[in-house]
Amino acid sequence: MIITSQGFGHFTQGINNQDFGIETPRMVLVLDGCSAGKYSEVGTRLFAQILSRKKEYDNHETFENTVKEVFEEIIGMMSRYYTDKKELENDFIMENLLFTIIACFETEDKYIVKFFGDGYIFTINKENLISYMRLAYGKCPPYYAYKYCEGTNMQNSQFKTFEFDKKIFSMVGIASDGILPIVKGEVKGADNLIIAKNALMLENAIKSQKTAFYDDVTIGMI
């Protein structure tokens, strides 16, 4: 289940929804484009389309290698339109490919979340208590595309992996950082809608209180 909504701040500024999500029976993927990137919405959609063409792209064991392949193919495909690496970096990578990648996989006995960037993981324990875990790194969050940029110290950074045992957690979901108003309790009843997995009502609740969500919000649940 993927719910996505354009942020009110982007709506007033005429910027498209830079978030994107895809789902399969055993994986949900949430991509959160950098607001400072001119064409982040292009990058998220291009990446998701090419990723979904790969074999076994929703397998948690091969996911990180698949992501690496897709980035290298996209950058390799576009490099001929730029005179040098610096121009490619500034005019293509920085404007299109800066986005957070969050993927949640379901296996027989656990949920596995792979994280590169900033956002939220939310869980529901056996007592039906919801928890929102925030991964945040300040104004310049780490993006996978920085591995292909000089001057950053991200070349050796890897995906963060979290494993949640199904004996303890009845559900695990992921979200972009636009979910903050729900975490703060500003959207009445949102917690119960998430616990009930009521996608339609949750989407209505988000869209009916559009002004509360400054940033784009995307929520993914298996």
Binding site: E127, L129, S131, M133, L135, P141, K160
Partner: protein
């Protein structure tokens, strides 16, 4: 006519008719006052309940008007009740947490700024600080320096948390002429959310926490030392979980 006047002894010049003595017509102001006073006397007894438009107690004293007049009026003041927040800080008293004491102080100072604050310190034992006003709370006392080790009785602390919240939730405090009602409770946990020393089991700890978290107007937060501890805090069910140190490596 003159003979009649002589008979009655009223000779001489004609006397003007005498006017009554001390004729002093009342002023209009006092006269009006008397009318109003009389109207007040004739009005039925009226007691103002002191509520303003919002249904809250007003600051003005209550006056009772009756037929006894102004001299017999009596006045009394009701104490206004103020809704405040209680912040309960649940802090792990271990060596790992003590290393980041300065960061902890900043977090506690930024979050504890109004209402009352109480502290639950857990290590090999549990220490509970009596509720004090946030304005006089000293952040330097957040750790128990005498009991810093590797033990952490987290589940016992959750049971103690349930007792503290039960004792204080919706209670009314009297401080001099002021009355406070603890209408909101915020639970802030700091540490690794792990347990290695409790008498109570994990199920008992989670059950106690659920009773606290399921009350209305109770919010729960946990600040982990690092992202590795997120899962432990989520197992208990803290609603908002973050990390003190945020580095992507």
């Amino acid at each position: 006519m003159s003979k009649i006047k002589r008979f009655f002894g009223i000779e001489g010049e004609e006397k003007k008719p005498q006017q009554p003595k001390e004729w002093n017509p009342p002023s209009w102001q006092s006269y009006k006052g008397r009318i109003e006073e009389e109207k007040r006397r004739q009005q039925p007894v009226q007691i103002n309940d002191g509520l303003n438009e919002n249904g809250n107690l007003s600051q003005e004293p209550i006056t009772a008007q009756d037929s006894f007049g102004e001299k017999e009026k009596f006045e009394f003041e009701l104490q206004k009740k103020e809704d405040v927040k209680l912040t309960v800080v649940l802090i792990e008293n271990s060596a790992m947490v003590a290393k980041q004491k300065e960061d902890l102080k900043k977090i506690v100072e930024s979050l504890v700024n109004t209402g009352f604050v109480s502290l639950i310190n857990y290590g090999s034992s549990i220490r509970i600080m009596e509720k004090v006003e946030a304005a006089i709370f000293e952040c330097s006392e957040i750790l128990n320096e005498e009991d810093i080790g590797e033990e952490a009785c987290f589940y016992d602390a959750l049971v103690a948390l349930e007792d503290v919240v039960n004792h204080n939730y919706n209670m009314i405090e009297h401080h001099g002429f002021k009355r406070y009602r603890i209408a909101k409770v915020e639970v802030i946990g700091i540490g690794r959310a792990i347990d290695n020393f409790s008498a109570y089991s994990m199920e008992k700890g989670i059950e106690a926490f659920k009773k606290v978290a399921s009350r209305t107007n109770v919010t729960t937060k946990y600040f982990c030392l690092s992202e590795k501890d997120f899962i432990h805090a989520a197992t208990i069910g803290f609603r908002s979980i973050g990390a003190i140190r945020r580095t992507f490596s």
